[in-house]
Each structure stands twice: as C-alpha cells, then as structure tokens.
Symmetry: C2
Subunit: 334 residues, 2 copies
C-alpha cells in the first residue's frame, strides 16, 4: 500500500540545572533503537494512530513510559523525513518519518527518571557556549576543518559559496555570531565531515585518513537525534526573546540574577546585568514576592515570581537580550 509509513515521535526535554541547560537522554536500547551500540538518544517511540488521540498525546505517553516524567509545556518542532536519516535504512530497514518536539520541565532533584539521564546540552554542541568567550574548539578544530573543506571544493565558485556559508554561520570574517543558527552550524559541520555522524552515516567525503580519526566535536547521538536537538536549541533560543517560556524552566520564585543566568545559559552568551533587570522589570514580566533569598554570596536579593498578568495585556513579551559579548572572529580564509 503506497503512502504508508511509520511515524516516530521524539522529544527534546529541557530543564535548567543551576546554570547548565540539560537534556533528557536515554540509552538507545531502551527506546527500542537497535544499532545504537549503547549510544544515547532522545526519548522516542512510534505514533499509534489507534491508541493516540493526538501526536502530542502519543509523545507524552512514550516519555512517561521511558522516563516517568510528566510533561508540561510541549511544542512541535519539525518533521524529519529525509531518506537514510537512520543508518539502518541502507541495510533495508524501514523508512521512518519522525516528528520532533521540544518540552520544558522544571528539574526535580533526586526523582527517578526510569532510563532517562540528564545531560548538559553543550556536551553535544561545545561550540555553542560563548558565555566564557569564544569556545577554543572553534579556533582549534572547526575553523581549520572548515577551511580545508572550502579548499576541497571542486570549482572556484563552489569554493566561494562554501567560504561565504562558513563565514556566515560561524561568524568568521566580519559576520557576527547569531546564537539561533544552531541547526545551520550543525548541518555545515555534518556536510564538512567534522562531526562523527558524517562517517557513521556512510558518506565518503574524501579519502583523507584524517577523516577517519575520532572527532572532538561534541558527543554524537543515535540516528539524527543530534540534528533534532540542534533544531530544539535554535527554536528555544529564538523563543525566549518573544514569549515568556523561560519561566517554564524556573522555580516558582527566583532572584533576578538566577533568571539572568538561566537566560544566559540557554542563549549561550553573557548579558548586561543592569539592563537585563531594567528590561524584565519594565516589561512587567516579573513581580516582587516581598521575600528575600537566603543565599551565599553578597547582598541578599529579592525573590520574584512570573507575573501572569502580562500575557493578557501586551502582545507577546519575552526576555529581551541586551547582549554584551559581541566578539569579532578572524576569518577562516587566513
């Protein structure tokens, strides 16, 4: 019967752990994904049209079954249907179409998560964290790797195109870093053979023996799950700017610095403190609780809570980002 496929639902479940954005992963064998060799992947499972009333519901059921975690905020990301996304397909496996979701939860200490394990999301994307300045991996590995990839181009115009693309996505030359282009950067590295998935998926980009060495460019995930995670990161980074989704990740009350650290962790860059406070206060996103935090450190801060009232009046507020670190990088062209 033509047109019949299997739909897989996969979830990028994000929580904040202090200043670390974490993603829930499961060992591949748990979610029924063969061929992963014990590698990690996103919680996922097939959509069952007779049992699941909606796609969302199917997703929640699978996540609950694999991790015991009840999901709150859930948002559909993208549907991936390219051929050979799953390496098994080349060996005659079925053609899965997978619908990726982004879910935000508050991290609860100690609670058992079934087979789930929380992981720093920058573990798979070390080049995305600019909070301590430009990540070394860019200068050490990515820039030279991309420069070689540019040189490998067959023709001159193709070489030029590759350079422009590399400059644009990784902020070489006088382009500036756009923290939302997570997917573009991952796909560029994939095409350039600079992430482990390229070799695993069987592309033969060159006979260069250097391409066979294990790559230090972040921890790979099974199938195309790292691509789905990249999609989720980009979407979340975009969304915190115009919708108050950050509060889905925060405890009920928090200091303004905690809020700022959470935003910085997701956005992957530092913000200007005074302006950040002015923005969130001015937009009416938070309201004082009157309580004072009993923390270590300096002067005690007042605790705030999310002000639900905003959602009704204003069009679509989010946490604006008064970015401070605007570094210029040198070109990959030399």
């Amino acid at each position: 019967m033509p047109g019949v496929v299997m739909i897989e639902l996969s979830a990028v479940i994000v929580a904040m752990d202090k200043e670390v954005p974490r993603v829930l992963l499961v060992r591949a064998d748990v979610s029924g994904n063969a061929g992963g060799d014990g590698q990690e992947g996103l919680p996922c499972g097939p959509f069952d049209p007779s049992g699941h009333r909606t796609l969302d519901e199917g997703l929640r059921r699978w996540v609950d079954q694999q991790t015991g975690l009840p999901l709150g905020y859930v948002e559909q990301l993208y549907t991936f249907g390219d051929r050979f996304r799953d390496p098994l397909e080349r060996a005659g496996g079925p053609r899965p179409v997978s619908v990726g979701y982004l879910a935000l939860v508050r991290k609860t200490e100690g609670k058992s998560l079934g087979e789930g394990v929380w992981n720093d999301w920058y573990r798979s994307f070390p080049w995305e964290d600019w909070r301590a300045g430009p990540p070394e991996i860019i200068d050490a590995v990515i820039a030279p790797g991309l420069a070689q990839w540019c040189e490998r181009a067959a023709s001159r115009p193709e070489r030029q195109l590759r350079r422009e693309r590399a400059d644009l996505t990784f902020a070489f030359g006088d382009s500036s870093w756009d923290n939302e282009r997570v997917l573009e950067r991952y796909e560029l590295l994939y095409e350039a053979g600079l992430v482990a998935e390229t070799a695993r998926d069987g592309a033969t980009l060159s006979g260069d023996p250097r391409d066979q060495r294990p790559l230090p460019t972040g921890v790979p995930l099974i199938k195309d799950h790292r691509r789905i995670l990249a999609t989720a990161m980009g979407r979340l980074r975009a969304k915190i700017k115009y919708r108050p989704v950050i509060f889905e990740l925060m405890p009920p009350s928090f200091t303004l610095l905690q809020l700022q650290r959470a935003v910085e962790a997701l956005a992957g860059g530092r913000l200007h403190k005074q302006n950040f406070r002015r923005l969130v206060a001015h937009e009416g996103l938070v309201e004082r609780t009157g309580q004072i935090s009993a923390q270590t450190g300096g002067r005690p801060a007042e605790l705030f809570r999310f002000s639900r009232g905003v959602v009704l009046k204003r069009p679509a507020p989010g946490v604006r980002l008064p970015v401070r670190v605007k570094p210029r990088r040198k070109s990959s062209r030399k």
Copy 2:
C-alpha cells in the same frame, strides 16, 4: 502493524497579485479528496516513502502534478495529527497525518495552472484585513458571536477565561491587534461555532437554531485546510519581519511603493510611507537599479532590486513594520 499511518503533504502556495495576496486552491475531487462536494482545498497528496527521497520532494511532485507549478521557496509549517481532522474519519475512514508547507512563488500571468485557481487569501479570513480599518465583520458578526459564546460558558471562571481569550486574540478591550495570531483567531472561531467547519465536523455546541444558519465568516475549505492556511498566514506575517522572504514574491525590480503595498497586503495593515522607505533603505535590503518606472499616477519612482549582499553580512534582516494603524477596539463584554 502498529504505528503505521498515511502521511499527506499539503501546500499553501502564496503569490502576490498587485495588492492581493493569493493562495492556490484546487477543487477537492482533483486532489483525490472525496467528500468535499466540489469544495476547494489546498493542493495535496500522500507521501510515498519509496518514491520520494524527502518530504519536500514529495510535495513538489504533487504540486507539479496538480497545478504544473514549479516551487521555489518552500518551508515546512507544522504536522497535524489530531483525530477527526477529516470528517470522513468518523465514518471509519483512515487516520491521516498531514504535513503542511508554505511555498512562495512569483505569479505569472496567463500561465495555465492545471486544476489550480488563485484565490484572495482574505476570502477565507475577512477579519484579517485591516488595511481599510477594522473589518466590519468583526463588529457585525464576530464580536456578538463571541460574546454569546462567553455567556454560554458553564461556570463563572470558565466564562472569565473565555472573555480573556476573546479579548486577547481579537483585540477587544485594551488589547492590541497582533497580526500574527491568525491561527489563534481561527481556532477560537472554530470552538465558538462561528465558522462553517464547526458544524460540518459534527460538533454540537448548542441546540440554538441560529447555529444552523450558514455563517458569513469566510469561505470554508475541505478538511482542516483552512487551519493549515491560517498557520501559513501567521508564519508568513511573522517571517517577513526578520527574513527577506518578501522578495520571493516580488518581480526582479520594483518601486518602493510596490514593495510597501505587498508587505501591507500580507501584514493586513497600513504602514507609514516615509519610515518604511527609511527602514528598507537603511537596512540595505534593496539597491537602486538606476531605472525609472513608467507608471501612471504621479512622479515616476525609481526601480529597486533586492540586494543579495545583506544576507552575508547582517544577521537576519527582514522588512520591519512601522505600523501606523493601531486601533483600539471596544470590548465584547459590553
């Protein structure tokens, strides 16, 4: 076999015709959609995993087959999988999951489109066009209809929730009109029984005989295609603000007023002329061609073209909207 479903690909194909945004529709029988009674719907067809390398490719093939139109810019919108989206499903039909796409093309005069017909997209969403001020249908039909829907709520808190939702989405009270919330508005009207699809899909919201009358709230489409169209409108309205997608719809050269009219037509509101020019000029989105348009009207305008250079340097420019018409509406609560 569990988890096996049929995937349908549907396309919202948009083109500009002077100052009218048009969407390509086909008669339902053409796209193999029974039960439409000759109603119109989006070009669509089943995804074939053995024949189609990617979802995009499948979509392009279906559109080409039904309308002969080659697609340029294509973007995935959303995957719809709720039960009973297709009325036939209640009668034992299969469970379709449909992936909606947005495509932008330049309208070519006279060219045959197979079974396709261009339609003003406001024909199905008359309340979305604010270019000539607040549409009458809002005061005449929607506001009173929603007020009744609020009153029908079972409990007081539920009634309050309905009022807040109506005020927020339709800019009653002191909320302001957000032109991107096309989907939210359509879904509200659907739930309130104010569009033809509610009755057709078999929901019985009340025994009120007024609910049986044909509704003047825009032309319905088959299945959930009007919902997909609403998703596309919202996405496109959002996207023109931060990516230069508007130029996919423009001829190679155009006057600034033509550009402004196109943006206004999509955004559904008027813009301030001088500020609009300053913005597009200042952002470096366009460059002069040196040529002068030979039009009727007043002083001849200079012709501009899209400046591809911007894409390389700046992060992600789009056409900002210096909105002029910011009307306040009265509340539905009375």
